[in-house]
Subunit: 154 residues, 4 copies
């Protein structure tokens, strides 16, 4: 059966390379509404890198953030084990921070991996999914559910 | 013109009343897919309370969380200034925590207001939007944007 | 227990009243990003009307459309049986049409109810959920699922 | 700068190949909550194929559909011009139909391209974005907006 294979060439190692990759990914942003470009690059445990940019929609709430796209690309190719994600924007006076939706999306695949929030000059702040989403609610918590009664089923 | 008016009767004051209201709101949850009921009650600066429950969808990602619905109800009636939100679920072994999407939705209306995460017995943990979404990205930050170039406009 | 009760005053009967209500609802729109106001008013089988407006977010994809808020308000008060929804915007040269996400959200509660797409002058086009979302996928279809194997569970 | 390049090997031409690719893509679905696997494969005007599967989240509404991921992957690699998309699921008694959110997401990139809704045996129904989302609201329509006044800005 036909399959798509991703081949990464010349990926620079380390944080600097990952950030540079997220800055490059930003170039493909489709953001005619916000005109706010974001790029992301996620690094898997096996050293693969997947990139994403924001993809907006005329119905604004149907767009998707760069971070979620980068992670989804990895998952859709069979990778769910992540080491770090780098995020880039055009904000020069601020390290770009992921939205709450993206934090939760990252959290799905573990709370203990790194997040690099960068500026266009490549400088960055390092944090973790856990630090960005304290007291989070993840896949494990749904196992614990104790539903007492669900009277209004359809 | 026809308008809808919300009248709150017998709202108990204080945290206990807000949590009880969120527990009651949970009864209306439409959650045939997750069977995980959530209720929320948001208190405005002027003392009005708006409730919400989760409303799910056959396309799971089109559902809406209880917290976002409670806040949206308030906004759609002209209230955008919030003091606190209480959240309730059927989890008896855990204080129900808002998802990242809801934290960002709360953040839109300020970072310094209270969040009460409860258990079915009415016990709760108190925190703030700010504590739940550190290093957040809000409305103010978009003003700062310095877009360098947007080559791929439609 | 404390509960919120909605009291509708002077709701005009018929389509004209529902559209006027959706036009009024638009006034509360929180849309600092798109500056595109939308209002909605949903009529339940028992004659109750619930309104909504769009509520946007700095992270654009976390906003909620007016239609989904109006329906969620009804559901969160115990109403899931709908007769019609009216939608209003500031577009004077076009009848405002619901996005695909809202069509799916409507569809959850049945395919055979009416949608009135209006202009600011009160003129409108009448259609149905079914006509707006042909060959749709709803709650019933999930019952039919025949999952063969799910090898990649967590 | 480091970049990711997608190389497609042995992509079968025509509809049959695209559907087979969407069936293969389904294998990577991350759907611990719905256990409902979906795959998608989008074909660009230049003959590239990008695949997607559904990626779910503990907060159900933060998951992403297979179709939106396939399209986002293409956009994030610089492709926005689409010819067709194939969708696959495990439903043997029904041709899998895209949700309203995905229809709107497709619509962003044009109304006149093909959608193949398939069954696990490879049989399919052919339709178009336009037919699935009649009277749609797209990027062009936002240009027309005539905002009369936005009194409640932040
Ligand atoms: Zn985000
Ligand atoms: Zn939530
Ligand atoms: Zn909508
Ligand atoms: Zn979908």
């Amino acid at each position: 059966a036909a399959k798509s294979h991703i081949q990464l060439h010349g990926m620079q190692e380390g944080v600097t390379g990952l950030i540079r990759t997220s800055l490059d990914a930003k170039e493909f942003a489709y953001c005619p509404y916000s005109k706010f470009r974001v790029g992301a690059a996620v690094l898997t445990r096996d050293g693969k890198v997947f990139t994403g940019c924001n993809v907006e929609n005329a119905c604004h709430n149907l767009g998707i953030c760069a971070e979620r796209i980068a992670i989804s690309k990895a998952v859709s190719e069979g990778y769910r084990d992540f080491k770090a994600i780098a995020i880039a924007s055009d904000l020069s006076d601020q390290f770009i921070s992921p939205c709450g939706g993206c934090r939760q999306f990252m959290r799905e695949f573990g709370a203990r991996w790194d997040v690099y929030m960068s500026k266009p000059d490549g400088s960055y702040v390092e944090t973790t999914v856990d630090a960005l989403l304290p007291q989070s609610f993840g896949p494990e918590d749904l196992q614990m559910k104790k539903v007492q009664r669900i009277p209004n089923e359809f």
